[in-house]
Amino acid sequence: MLAQQLINALTLGSVYALFALGFTLVFGVLGVINLSHGAIFMLGSYMALLLVSSFQMSLWMAMLLSMLACGLLGVVVDFLVLRPLRKRNAPHLAPMIATIGVAIMITNISQGIFGAENKRFPFGTIPEESFSLGNLHLTAVQLAIVVIAFILMLVLLQVMRRTQIGRALRAIAESPKAAYLLGINVEGLFFLTSFAAAALGGAAGVLVGLSFNAISPFMGQPMLHKGIAVIILGGMGDIRGAMIGGLFLGFAEVMSVAYISSDFRDAVAFGLLFIILLVRPSGMFGRVLERKA
């Protein structure tokens, strides 16, 4: 049983991590807790569903296109909502609340268009293969999620660590003013970040939609809660942290079901979050940097 639970934990953790990657990226660069990330994630699912079922597109194509569409939506949200707030130097809670507004809008319009019911990808469009080894089972989609999550994380990490764009993004994260003075195209990179984050969110949506058959306008909300926990655990804005935080949360949840009680699964997850924050006030991997006196 333990081996199967470990697989369960790995796949669940990868789902969380995948969702959290874009979420943490936006926070890391724009300094905004983008609460519309869940809604964009949901839209990614629907978009791919629509392309597959109404336009008979292949799954890969649909995934690429819905990433693109989500990315563009991310840019539009950034342009219409976040950018004006940046320009106005609005208090830091304002963008967060504004993105709640965006999430409400997207969710309700989607409900109006797609209905409130759960949908799934049409039969036959999802790879049905699964791998079994004795008593252990893993579906192809789950495997894909794990692999894609790791690849995306590694790519992002390398971009942030090794490239000039990565450094520029980190500069912006700390001080847009300083970044301007260095000749960095701050607005351009804001858009790029919003695009990338939303595209990642869309990708997560497609994969989750594929593996759980529960595409609904409300699927973003619970994921958002978990995403928040993940990026806090991992340290806000930390890519590697999002990955580790996601896996950690996945393990914590699965193990609490396996060895404590499923009644207290969420309490265990959030209780852990609470305790970890008390011990490490900036998350497991957040760097503590005190402002110098």
Partner: protein
């Protein structure tokens, strides 16, 4: 004159999937009644308001319907929780409040003006369990239910006592929360406990997912479920992976009675999709009320008419889409006068080839 009837259902938000079906059921029935000239020549006019599945909004909507729209009675609200908040207001105003989807315990204890035709899980599930034990020769079961939802939790309570009564041991009890999509951890644990069947107090969409994930873990056990399973959604999502699932419900699409056949055909014609149990119960409820109204001569005095309706309702007996229906006086609690529950037989179904058929 028109008879104004309030409909307070969740038309937006997560509970809208029930609320909208319910509203459709009322609309279909009212249109049919009106097309035949109404009740004693009076047309039925539905006043629908959205209570969003939230209790504050349910209270608001009730007040608006009672005091502003001055409706004769109210159908709704969608969720039991909202009913606990809003039904006392109708009772205080001495107006009939008629739930078609509130299955929680204690709803009809809120006052003598509370009615429902939603069959309680307590009436349905023991029958289902008994049928399942016989059908699959079950010795022991595992249970899975949603523990943060009043409906699935009370379903669990009933299952638990029914199983205890029938002396079926439970190998493992697992829970999940609203919005969960990954049930593998719980299922893996259930698998290790090796039950003969899985008893599941869940809603259809969750159930479908649970079934799919159970199969992907290489488990073959049949499922036993309640009302919540009774939706085409189960098969839209799980298809024939759901085969051999046993479900007890007051309504079945397979019920060959003429009332049901015509309901299903009319519904499909009007709304373009197949009805579910919620639509069927709402449809019947409208006919129950119409039946009572036939016996009432409306005076135009709202207070009197509301009382007259309440006095006429308990005696109504019809044969509707959900089969034979009658009211049953609920047992009073804390010395408070109680309202009326549904007296109806449960139908036990089994899933075969992607749909529910009557269990012989």
């Amino acid at each position: 004159a028109d008879i104004k009837i309030g409909v307070a259902e969740a038309l937006t938000g997560p509970a809208a999937k029930y609320g909208v079906a319910i509203k459709n059921g009322f609309t279909l029935a009212a249109d049919q009644i009106n097309a035949k000239g109404g009740v004693n020549g009076n047309k039925i006019q539905l006043v629908a308001e959205d209570e969003q599945g939230k209790k504050e909004d349910a209270i608001n909507v009730f007040k608006k319907l009672l005091f502003q729209e001055k409706v004769l009675m109210i159908f709704g609200p969608t969720l039991s929780n909202s009913a606990f908040a809003a039904d006392p207001i109708a009772n205080a105003t001495k107006t009939v409040v008629f739930g078609t989807s509130n299955t929680a315990d204690g709803i009809t204890n809120m006052g003598p003006f509370t009615f429902r035709n939603s069959v309680m899980e307590a009436d349905v599930l023991p029958v289902t369990t008994r049928a399942a034990v016989k059908q699959f020769n079950i010795k022991k079961v595992a249970i899975l239910y949603g523990n943060d939802d009043a409906f699935t939790k009370s379903g669990y309570d009933v299952f638990k006592s029914a199983l205890a009564e029938q002396k079926i041991p439970v190998t493992d009890t697992e829970t999940y929360a609203k919005g969960d999509v990954d049930f593998k951890a719980q299922l893996t644990k259930i698998k290790a406990s090796n039950p003969d069947a899985i008893v599941c107090s869940c809603l259809a969409e969750e159930a479908a997912n649970i079934i799919l994930q159970t199969r992907s873990l290489g488990m073959k056990q049949p499922f036993v479920g309640g009302n919540g399973f009774n939706s085409p959604k189960l098969f839209e999502i799980a298809k024939d992976a759901a085969d051999n699932t046993l479900m007890g419900s007051p309504w079945s699409a397979e019920n060959p009675s003429p009332a049901n056949k015509s309901f299903m055909a009319d519904y499909k014609a009007k709304f373009g999709s197949d009805p579910d149990q919620f639509a069927a119960q709402a449809y019947d409820a409208m006919h129950i009320v119409a039946e009572a109204l036939k016996k009432v001569s409306l005076s135009g005095n709202l207070e009197k008419d509301r009382l007259a309706l309440r006095d006429a309702l308990p005696a109504v007996k019809i044969e509707g889409a959900t089969g034979k229906f009658a009211f049953r006086r609920a047992a009073p609690k804390d010395g408070k006068e109680a309202g009326y529950d549904a007296q109806q037989d449960a139908i036990v179904n089994i899933a075969k080839g992607g749909k529910f058929v009557l269990l012989k």
